[in-house]
Structure formats: C-alpha cells, structure tokens
Symmetry: C2
Subunit: 355 residues, 2 copies
C-alpha cells in the first residue's frame, strides 16, 4: 500500500508529521512518499500542483494532505494560487464524495460558541459532492453582458450544473452512509429557485427507492443553515452539492468550536481517497509548534478505514485520540482552565503512546 504524503503550507508540515508518526507505529508496511503541494509546490516547481505531485497522488492508494495557503502566495494569479492544488487534485483524481463529520467530543463541549445543551453529543455527517456544480461548470468568465438592463457592460458569469449520473452516485454514497448510522438523510437543495437543484431533488427521490430503510427529507439551503444553528443535533446525514456543501460543512464544523479536531475524506468511485483536516493552513501560527494535529491524525484514521481497509487500525487511532482528550491534554485552540496545554509534537507523541 502506497500513501502519498502532501504536507503543503503553513502548519501543514507540522501536523502531517504527527500523523506520519502515528502511521509508523501501527506495524503496517505502508510505503510513504512525500511531495510538495500548494505554495510549496509553486515554490519548488512553479505550480501549486506540480506534475510529479499529481503523478504520485494518482499512483498512490491514498493521499494524506495537510493544508495549503500562505501570505506570500496571496497575490499570485488565480491559476497559481495554492488552493488550485486542491481543486486540481479533486478533479484529476475524481474525488467526488467529500465526507465531513461534525462531531463534538464531550470533553470539548465548552469550546463551542453554542450552548452545551444545543451541541453536546453532536454527531452529524455532511456529504458534499466535490467535482461538479458551479465549481467546474463551463462556460464561465468575464464577458459583455448579452441582454437586459445592463446589456453591453462587462459581467462575470459561471455555470451551475449537475448531470443525472453525478447526482446518482453521490446519492448512493449518502444513502449507504445513512444506512450505517441512524438511517436518516437530509438532502439540501434550493429547488424553489434553481433548476439544477429541482433536478437534484428529483434524482435523489428516485435513488431513494433503492434504500427504503432510510428516511429521506428535503430542506432548502437557507433553512438548513438556520437549522444547523437552531438544532444541529436533529440531523444525521446531510447530502448536498459542491457550493452549498462548502458553506454548510464549514458552518457545521464551527458549531463544534473545535475545528482543529475534524477530519475529512474525499473519495473516488473505488474508495481511493484524499484525507485532510477540515481546518486551513493557519499561516499565523505556522512553525510555532502549537497547532492541533488531531484533525490530521483522525484524517489518517479515516484513510485507514475507507481506502486502506484497516477498520481496526482506524478504531485504534480514534480510541487513542479519545484517550488523550480524557487525559486532559489540549493544544492551544481547545485549551481551557483545568486542562494541560501541550504543543503539536507532544500531542502527537501522546497519541503514539496511547496506541
């Protein structure tokens, strides 16, 4: 089994190093190979997703990704900016299914900005389609406005679109995920306004016929954003498109107050995947040794479960993370009075020890 390690920028290298440490003590013979991505890719090879990095990611059985982005790359032309590496990897590897759990560990309930009774025990799974929608739809660009009151002026435009097969495959992923959980799926759309999402809704209803054991409901995206704030624990699994999923999964992650704890998986049709923490590259704290490595370590656990077929090792890592939390160890982002403040390395070491 070959794992591509793409640490990226900012805190990426520090946190990925801890996950690698964890992988190395499992007693498995994984082959790990590292390559630069994002700003680091641009610095090394003039492109955020260098050819060699893409080739490695394609050849590997799974990709462990840190985070990308740093101040010095902010003013590059868009095609060279670090986040293009993420979009390029998703599209080139066909990673259409993004799984974003939003889980609130009981020990960390205080970290949330929401009242404990609203969020404690939160455990929802947001499934975001990741290779379609307005992220990639053509045509797009800036052109002369063809009609209406602004005719002749410049206008920016993009195309939102979802083909039937694209919706079917993400719906299957979502129904199957719900079957393994509380068997409730909320499909989030904007069918009252968008043709794309009326079509989305129709197809999801059709796929539902194959999963009669799952309770399906439909919610408009604006209402979903409200219900996530009002009563997030009512959700089990949510499925939505790329753009709405971008917004809702980040909002859901922030409900926990501990985004430094949240992993994510982006899977292709054969369960090959890219695994990364839900948080960003946090260049402001990079190199200080204070970043929380747990989201990346938990991403490695998801990798073991979904792509490497090592459910038991995944469970071991997740148990080890729970153990260090129960011990009271906390990085700065989740530190509270009465707990023990530790740095990135020490947190990684504690997980290794718990294993």
């Amino acid at each position: 089994m070959k794992i591509a390690i793409l640490p990226g920028d900012g805190i990426g290298p520090e946190i990925v190093a801890q996950a690698v440490k964890v992988l190395n003590v499992l007693g498995e013979s994984f082959e790990l190979e590292t390559a630069p991505v994002g700003g680091a890719g641009y610095a090394a090879h003039g492109h955020p997703l260098p050819e060699g990095t893409l080739a490695l990611a394609k050849a590997a059985d799974a990709v462990l990704f840190g985070a990308v982005g740093d101040y010095q790359y902010d003013n590059l032309e868009r095609q060279f900016r670090p986040e293009q590496a993420i979009l390029g990897l998703r599209k080139n590897l066909g990673l259409f299914a993004n799984l974003r759990p939003a889980i609130l560990y009981p020990e960390l309930a205080g970290a949330s900005t929401l009242k404990p009774e609203v969020v404690s025990g939160l455990d929802i799974l947001i499934i975001r389609e990741l290779t379609g929608d307005i992220y990639f739809g053509q045509p797009r660009g800036v052109r002369e406005c063809p009609d209406g009151p602004f005719k002749g002026q410049r206008e920016g435009f993009d195309t939102m679109r979802y083909a039937e097969g694209e919706i079917r495959r993400i719906a299957h992923v979502a129904f199957q995920a719900a079957q393994k959980r509380d068997k409730r799926l909320t499909s989030v759309d904007k069918a009252n306004v968008l043709e794309t999402f009326q079509f989305w809704k129709d197809i999801v209803i059709d796929v539902h016929k194959e999963y009669p054991d799952v309770a399906l409901d439909h919610m408009y995206v604006d209402n979903a954003a409200m219900q996530l704030v009002r009563a997030p624990k009512k959700f089990d699994v949510m499925v939505t498109g790329n753009m709405f999923g971008d917004i809702l999964s980040d909002a859901a992650a922030m409900l926990t107050g501990s985004i430094g704890m949240l992993p994510s998986a982006s899977l292709d049709a054969n369960n090959k995947g890219l695994y990364e923490p839900s948080h960003g590259s946090a260049p402001d704290i990079a190199g200080k040794g204070i970043a929380n490595p747990l989201a990346t370590i938990l991403s490695a656990a998801m990798m073991l479960r979904y792509s490497l077929n090592r459910e038991e090792q995944a469970n071991r890592i997740e148990a080890a993370v729970k153990h260090v939390l129960a011990q009271g160890l906390r990085t700065a982002d989740i530190h509270e009075a009465g707990t023990t403040l530790v740095g990135t390395e020490a947190m990684g070491d504690a997980v290794v020890k718990a294993l």
Copy 2:
C-alpha cells in the same frame, strides 16, 4: 402616500393586521389598500402574483408584505407556487437591495442557541443583492449534457451572473449604510473559485475609492458562515450576492434565536420598498393567534424610515417595541420563565398602547 398591504398566507394576515393597527394610530393619512398574494393570490385569481396585486404594488409608495406559503400549495407546479410571488415582486419592482438587520435585544439574549457573551448586543446588517445572480440568470433548465463523462445524460443547469452596474449599485448602498454605522464593510465572495465573484470583488474594490472613510474587507462565503457562528459581533455591515445572501442572512437571523423579531426591507433605486418579516408563513401555527407580530411591526417602522421619509415615526415604533419587551411581554416564540405570555393581538395592542 399609498401603501400596498399584501398579507399572504399562514400567519401573514394575523401579523400584518397588527402592523396595520400600529400604522393607523400614527396620525398620518396613509392610504392602505390590501390585495391577495402567494397561495391566497392563487386561490383568488389562479396566480401567486395576480395582475391586480402587481399593479397595486407598482402604484404604491411602499409595500407591506406578510409571508407566503401553505401546505396545500406545496405540490403545485413551480410557476404557481407561493414563493414565485416574492421573486416576481422583487424583479418587477426592481427591488435590488435587501437590508436584513440581525439584532439581538438584550432582553432576549436567552432565546439564542449561542452563549450570551457571543451574541448579546449583536447588531449587524446584511445587505443582499436581490434581483441578480443565479436567481434570475439565463440560460437555465434541464438539457442534454453537452460534454464530459456524463455527455448525453440529462442535466440541470443555471447561470450565475453579475453585471458591473449591478454590483456597483449594491456596493454604493452598502458603503452608504456602513457610513451611517460603524464604518466597516465586509464583502462576501467566493473569488477563489467563481469568476462572477472575482469580478464582484474587483468592482467592490473600485467603488470603495469613493468611500475612503469606510474600512472594507473581503471574506470567502464559507469563512463568513464560520465567522458568523464563531464571532458574529465582529461584523458591522456585510454585503453579498443574492444566493450567498439568502443563506448568510438566514443564518445570521437564527443566531439571535428570535427570528420573530427581525424585519427586512427590499429597496429599489428610489427607495421605494417592500417590507416583510424575516420569518416565514409558519402554517403550523396559523390562525391560533400566537404568532409574533413584532417583526412585521418593525418592518413597518423600516418602511416609514426608508420609503415614507418618516424617520421620527419609525423611531417611535422601535421605541414602543423596546418598551413592550422591557415590560416583559412575550409571544410564545420568545417566551421564558419570568415573562408574560401574550398572543398576537395582545402584543399588537401593547405596541399601540406604548405609542
């Protein structure tokens, strides 16, 4: 001065009746004329926005709108569904600027699902562009997928677009609103992915040159959704497109926990406007006399301020609402131990008395 009164469906008629009572005691000689809209429009004339209703709204100096939507209209074809009335009014009246304050009254801090220290004193203004974007962009529909791996299948599609002049005019509204407040404006975009919103950002930066006294910053929509949950009080004014604004303004409203308190204004280029509560038609509680009329009463206050040039009357109404809250009167949606539960009528009467 002529005001079109469009009560709509569900709780719409009950809450609008209270706002009308309030308008009637101001001692102004407004001419009020009522017409059916939404499901009520469909029931009376076979269309959610009957011709006569649209004509009235066009002829009036301002429109007071309740809410639309009820169970029996859920399965109509989209063009006949109640919400088409809202979209039709916005487009036909050119109501491009939607102002959605999210204010947390100190007395109601307990109603929020967020911790009091995170939201008490919250006072942000979200300005949503309301007649452009993917809501109205052409072409849209269901077609045969023209290329890519799903070629030949059916696909749903929509067009996102913003012309330069459309962005300029909403930016001016936003900068001017910020000038009257804390002089800070956050423009929310997704410039890292969408051409439309890179263009949006460029134009907003250009308009900023005319408002050097306002501090402008830019935030991606996913991050904005997170920051609304994490630290909403950091915002002053936010401006964004129609689709992102739909999601973020509802999320912001829900942060207060008292969406029954939040008014909204939708303005054209000459400050003619449509005023409506931020909440929906709540058919589950319609006719029970328990709905909160304050958002509608406060919408009437916004109408007096923005469209009818009666700032003083607007202030009087807002003071009266604060007064009834201070008296401890609460409708069911905001009721807590130690306060007095009242119904829709009694709340309207209390505001009238306080005036």
